[in-house]
């Protein structure tokens, strides 16, 4: 099978694309028939079909959000909502994956990650999960790590109990869209008391032109368990725009600890409109580590609902917007229970006319006393063409709260540049160093391979820029 691997450009190193080898795709556009075709093709139970059709109604009823980034370029009728790349789903052995898809993932470096004994890898290519593996010892402990379609089929009881409970289909227009046409994504279940000590990983890749990717991830951490889930996203560069609209739901039961890391590096023609939300029960901790480097427009505000006493939420967000990019990202923490705490740190950089926006919401309900919240946003503007915005919302309805929000926007400090250049470091390199330092709080939370990767990506993005 022929593979057209484009030269890796400095702008987007994953911008190759393979010949489209999909075996089944729905027609372009959205209709109850398309939704039914997806459901039928997947052999889904009746309730899921109904869920999808109802979500489609919500989607059609709701207006496009106008409060954030400019979404007028999305043409919902020019998108393939479901593309199935291969005949059989979720092979357990790397050798079973078709050669062309394997080469794509080779370029992304999954086999290396696999060789390093990471706990589990699943890779989504267009709409379906094509390869998936989990370490046997974890499986023995009862850990489930699969794709959501399999979750629905093989673990229907747990799946149905939680699916769509954190983010109902009528939550917002794009959650409704995802609920109608979702396919793939990860399903993670960690039994009580189990610590998954190595990260579970997933890769998402769009390969088809005018493709929409709508994966659905559901993570359930039972009492006292721990899991770290990592996702990476890429797409080839096509002339027309693609749409990625995922839904991620996390349920952290009593004293569970869930960490979710995303490095989003979609190509610069992907609209990345994602709803991510977690529920943290008594004593639970949820962390979102959210990196946004790619995409044309990202709108993503990972949320944590602190429902039980002493629950803790943490959002660490890093965004980089280059030419033609708008990263509208942020965080939301909702304190429903007393003695809950949350901490948000956001770092963003705009360059070459890019725009970064921090948009956040802190809500403290009347019954949530002894709450502590800290929000810290810093933005760097690297040139005159770029823009940075901050939109932090806070609604405090209890008097026993310690809440602090701080934000700064500035350019790179001349004294910092001067310090480095006066010691013989060229200006371009000095700038890159300062930018790396600026992202340090984010990078240091990543596993080593990702940290190295991110620093490389940043170096590429920073090429040719001087203070």
């Amino acid at each position: 099978m022929a593979v057209e691997a484009h030269e890796l450009t400095k702008d987007y190193k994953y911008g190759f694309h393979d010949v489209d080898v999909s075996v089944f795709r729905t027609e372009k556009g959205l209709s109850p028939e398309v939704v039914a075709a997806i459901s039928q093709h997947k052999n889904e139970p009746e309730w899921m079909l109904k869920f999808r059709l109802k979500a489609l109604q919500h989607f059609e009823k709701r207006a496009m959000p106008t409060w954030g980034a400019d979404l007028s370029g999305i043409d919902f009728n020019n998108i393939y909502y479901y593309v199935k790349p291969i005949e059989e789903q979720a092979g357990r052995d790397w050798d079973d994956v078709p050669e062309s898809i394997k080469q794509t993932f080779d370029k992304l470096g999954i086999p290396e990650a696999e060789r390093k004994f990471l706990a589990g890898v699943s890779a989504q290519y267009d709409s379906e999960v094509v390869y998936h593996n989990i370490r046997a010892d974890l499986e023995k402990l009862g850990v489930i790590f699969g794709d959501c379609d399999t979750g629905l089929r093989d673990h229907s009881e747990i799946f149905r109990k939680y699916f769509g409970t954190v983010i109902p289909p009528n939550d917002n227009k794009f959650a409704a869209l995802n609920s109608a046409v979702w396919s793939g994504g990860s399903f993670v279940y960690v039994p009580a008391g189990v610590r998954v000590d190595i990260p579970l990983q997933a890769y998402f890749r769009i390969n088809s032109d005018n493709m929409g990717q709508f994966e659905r991830t559901l993570i359930i951490a039972e009492e006292g368990s721990y899991v770290h889930y990592i996702e990476g996203c890429t797409a080839p560069t096509y002339s027309s725009d693609s749409l990625h609209s995922a839904v991620v739901e996390i349920i952290a039961h009593k004293n569970a600890h869930v960490r979710y890391t995303t490095i989003q590096n979609w190509s610069n023609n992907v609209y990345n409109l994602v709803t991510k939300r977690a529920i943290a029960y008594e004593g639970a901790t949820v962390e979102w580590i959210d990196g946004n480097l790619g995409s044309k427009i990202t709108m993503k505000y990972p949320a944590i609902y602190l429902m039980g006493e002493r629950a803790h939420g943490e959002v660490l967000s890093a965004a980089f917007a280059g030419e033609g990019q708008h990263q509208d990202a942020g965080a939301k923490c909702v304190h429903v229970a007393p003695h809950t705490t949350s901490n948000i740190v956001s770092r963003s950089i705009s360059k070459d006319g890019g725009r970064t926006s921090y948009r956040g919401h802190i809500k403290v309900y009347p019954k949530a006393h002894d709450v502590k919240v800290s929000v810290r946003c810093d933005a760097l503007l690297l040139d005159e063409a770029s823009q940075s915005d901050t939109y932090p919302y806070s609604d405090i309805e209890n008097s026993d709260v310690t809440f602090g929000h701080e934000a700064t926007v500035s350019k790179i400090g001349e004294d910092q540049i001067f310090y480095l250049t006066s010691r013989g470091i060229p200006e371009a390199e000095a700038t890159a160093l300062i930018v790396n330092g600026f992202f340090e709080p984010f990078v240091k939370e990543l596993p080593m391979e990702y940290a190295v990767e991110l620093n490389r990506l940043l170096a590429v993005q920073m090429e040719g820029s001087v203070g």
Binding site: D383, E384, T390, P392, S394, H405, A407
Partner: protein, 453 residues
């Protein structure tokens, strides 16, 4: 609720025409255009308009309000005297104008200013005698930019106009006292000031109605234009009664190297939505904006600020200190908007909320939109309760709890009070705050209830 007020006494086209009659053509036209905009625009809706999301005015019935005082009621002097007493306490040397629906009720101590060539008069008079100056101030508002500002534009009456000529430093402050009394009374305070290059002025707007929860509508604007190097210290003290709806825009346009200091105290009203707009058009201009706000009962106090930087190397700094008790709600939203050419901008916003009651609420939305790269902009918002350590420190030294709490709240407000440009206004506001802290609401001032002004 009272029956809908028809005719020229209500908020109607007839009332607009009654005001336009005898006015210069440009002003009458402006009123009619504003009325047209007001009639066309939808009411702000907390479900639809982002600016109004946390402030619900669906219970406001504009038709109930009367822009004219009744012919028969007692039109006593007690309220005006109470307003004068505040001025005597804070700035006895100031030129004083007391304004009600019945027009100018007092106009004292103008000589010092007129001798300097300063124009200080009613807005109507100035519109006749100095149209070009008054138009400069009106130009700060585009007719129809919002429904409620259009309402003010169409219906204001008996405003205050001040013009300070080039390089003149007005020797005494101008104190404009707006008051209204009587159920369903509507008043439209209008203070317009034009400062030529290098001129300077201290200006005070005081708003009050009798204590109590009689429905009152206040739709106010203060429009201030500062020439190059001009300096304006503007204060306003809001003490409407607990039944008042208060909508206001305090807007200043700053020339090159102009300095604008604004100090506002919010104590009264049932609900307020107030805009503070500092438009830093001139290079090197400076805006120092300070607010103290104390909410009690079920007050809903909304302040929205804009620091718009167009000039280079301009500096703006807003401090908004809020204490809320009982079931009071504070809503703050602000924007530092730095346009592309506004390099070397230094912009800052600070909103500190002290939560004194379990039912009290505070929202803070400080936004930044930055399009220039060589800037330093930051903001901070905090919310917290009375510090137990501080309370313990004081109580363990024998200070009774009530007094300790008063000291802590005063301490919390003190750095905002210290930024008041005029010491007399600062001390007056400090005294009113002390009374608030003691539990005596300062929404409205003591005056006989049967007056209708």
């Amino acid at each position: 609720m009272a029956a809908t007020v028809e005719s020229a006494a209500g908020i109607t086209a007839a009332a607009v025409e009654a005001r336009a009659a005898g006015e210069p053509a440009w002003l009458a036209e402006r009123r009619r255009a504003a009325w047209e905009a007001f009639s066309t625009l939808p009411m702000p809706d907390h479900m639809r308009d982002e600016d109004w999301r946390r402030t619900d005015i669906s219970k406001l019935q504009l038709d109930d309000f009367s822009v004219e005082p009744p012919d028969t009621s007692v039109s006593g002097e007690a309220l005006i005297e109470a307003m004068r007493a505040r001025r005597d306490e804070a700035a006895p040397d100031s030129a004083f104008m007391a304004i009600t629906r019945r027009g100018v009720r007092a106009c004292d101590e103008m000589d010092m200013l007129t001798a300097q060539g300063v124009i200080v008069s009613t807005l109507e008079e100035a519109a006749r005698n100095h149209p070009e100056l008054v138009q400069r101030a009106f130009a700060a508002v585009r007719v129809g930019e919002s429904k409620l500002l259009a309402l003010w534009d169409a219906l204001w009456r008996t405003g205050v106009f001040v013009h300070v000529p080039r390089s003149v430093e007005a020797r005494v402050p101008v104190w404009a006292a707006y008051s209204v009394a009587g159920a369903n009374a509507a008043i439209f305070p209008a203070t317009l000031a034009v400062l030529d290059d290098n001129a300077s002025l201290t200006l005070v707007d005081a708003y009050a109605s009798p204590a109590g929860d009689a429905p009152v509508l206040s739709s106010a604007a203060a429009l201030m234009v500062l020439g190059d190097g001009a300096r304006l210290d503007y204060h306003h003290v809001q003490q409407w009664g607990a039944g008042a709806w208060h909508f206001a825009t305090h807007r200043a346009i700053l020339g090159r190297n102009a300095r604008f200091r604004m100090f506002g105290a919010t104590l009264g009203s049932r609900l307020q939505k107030v805009y503070w707009d500092a438009l830093l058009d001139g290079n090197g201009s400076e805006a120092l904006l300070t607010s103290v706000c104390f909410g009690d009962g079920t007050q809903h106090l909304d302040l929205q600020s804009l620091q718009r930087h167009r000039g280079e190397s301009a500096h703006s700094d807003l401090l908004h200190k809020v204490a809320v008790r009982d079931r009071a709600v504070s809503v703050y939203s602000g924007l530092i908007d730095v346009e592309k050419q506004a390099q070397h901008t230094d912009g800052y916003v600070q909103n500190r909320n002290l939560m004194l009651g379990d039912g009290a609420r505070a929202s803070g939305i400080p936004r930044l939109e930055i399009k220039a790269n060589d800037v330093r902009c930051s903001h901070g918002v905090t919310a917290g309760h009375l510090d137990d350590d501080q309370r313990f420190y004081l109580e363990s030294r024998g200070v009774p709890r009530a007094e300790a709490d008063r000291l802590i709240v005063r301490g919390f407000m003190q750095n905002a009070l210290d930024r008041a440009p005029h010491a007399g206004v600062r001390d007056l506001v400090a005294r009113l705050l002390d009374a608030e802290i003691h539990g005596e609401s300062q929404a409205g001032i003591e005056a006989p209830q049967d007056e209708a002004l």
